[in-house]
């Protein structure tokens, strides 16, 4: 009987980007986990207040923001495929598109805040709105930081700094942006839906 050997090329497992960025992301996720669990416990202690508070939020605005962030993350993921193929200019255009969707998110969030302020609702109204403003504003700050990071990697890509498959800086930036998206997909149903 003849021996038949098959060689299969197994790609090595590699963490995208910098290790430090992944530890930073884990730290951020932990902080938000505490917020999410704190919000859930507070809701169980003040069921009626939270139910009334959620009824005053604009669910469609929440959905628009969800679509904006997911779409933004999609363009960032595609930008990474382009940078891997050494198509830096296309990657920059995709990052700019991703930022445009992030601007939609920010605009809708500011509109939401202003609408609540017009109704006389502030961070001091009750426990629900204290947590609502704290958690969503903290997330908004991460979106803003993410936009700064996206701008930085877009500028670096434009300058031709990600060449010869040395793209770890670009990967680190995109990973941070996906974290912002990951946090929102938990935040959105917790505050707007359930």
């Amino acid at each position: 009987m003849s021996n038949l050997s098959i060689t299969v090329e197994v790609p090595d497992k590699k963490l995208p980007g910098d290790l430090a960025m992944w530890f930073f992301i884990l730290a951020e996720l932990t902080v938000f986990a505490i917020f999410f669990i704190g919000f859930s416990v507070s809701e169980q202690l003040n069921t009626e207040m939270f139910s009334l508070g959620k009824a005053q939020l604009h669910q469609t605005a929440g959905l628009i923001n969800t679509i904006a962030l997911i779409t933004s993350s999609f363009f960032v993921a595609i930008a990474l495929t382009k940078i891997h193929k050494a198509q830096a200019k296309q990657a920059v255009l995709l990052l700019l598109t991703a930022k445009a969707f992030a601007i939609i998110y920010i605009s809708v969030k500011i509109w939401e805040y202003l609408s609540l302020f017009e109704q006389g609702i502030t961070i001091e109204t009750n426990t629900f709105f204290t947590l609502y403003f704290l958690i969503t504003a903290f997330h908004l700050m991460h979106v803003l930081l993410g936009m700064v990071i996206l701008s930085f990697i877009a500028y670096s890509a434009w300058q031709g700094k990600y060449q010869n498959n040395d793209v770890s800086g670009f990967e680190a930036g995109t990973s941070y942006w996906h974290m912002v998206d990951l946090l929102w997909i938990i935040l959105f149903p917790l505050i707007y839906v359930i």
């Binding site: 790609p11 986990a33 959905l63 779409t71 974290m179 997909i185 938990i186 959105f188 839906v193």
Partner: protein, 89 residues
């Protein structure tokens, strides 16, 4: 040469479509399900499904060392699970 560790556009597009679809289902869930406990569990199962897409497809952790992938997948399972337990307690 195309890097074999990189996600392709088809996977990203499928991931995007699934994420959008699940988000729309999540927001209309309370209108179709009367039981609040079922709504909570349904919405949080959707979170897990969406989280897996982001972790594996967008963050590309499906090609990362197992420990890191498991860390992030644990997060998107554990946090919704704890929230479910708190709501249903």
């Amino acid at each position: 040469m195309q890097n074999n560790k990189t996600i392709n556009m088809t996977a990203a597009t499928k991931g995007w479509f699934l994420l959008i679809t699940l988000s729309v289902i999540a927001i209309y869930l309370p209108e179709f399900v009367d039981n609040r406990s079922v709504t909570i569990m349904g919405a949080l199962v959707i979170v897990v499904l969406k989280g897996q897409q982001i972790v594996d497809v967008f963050m590309e952790l499906n090609n990362a060392p197992k420990l890191w992938r498991m860390l992030f997948l644990s997060y998107i399972v554990l946090v919704p699970l704890i929230i479910t337990v708190i709501y249903l307690a």
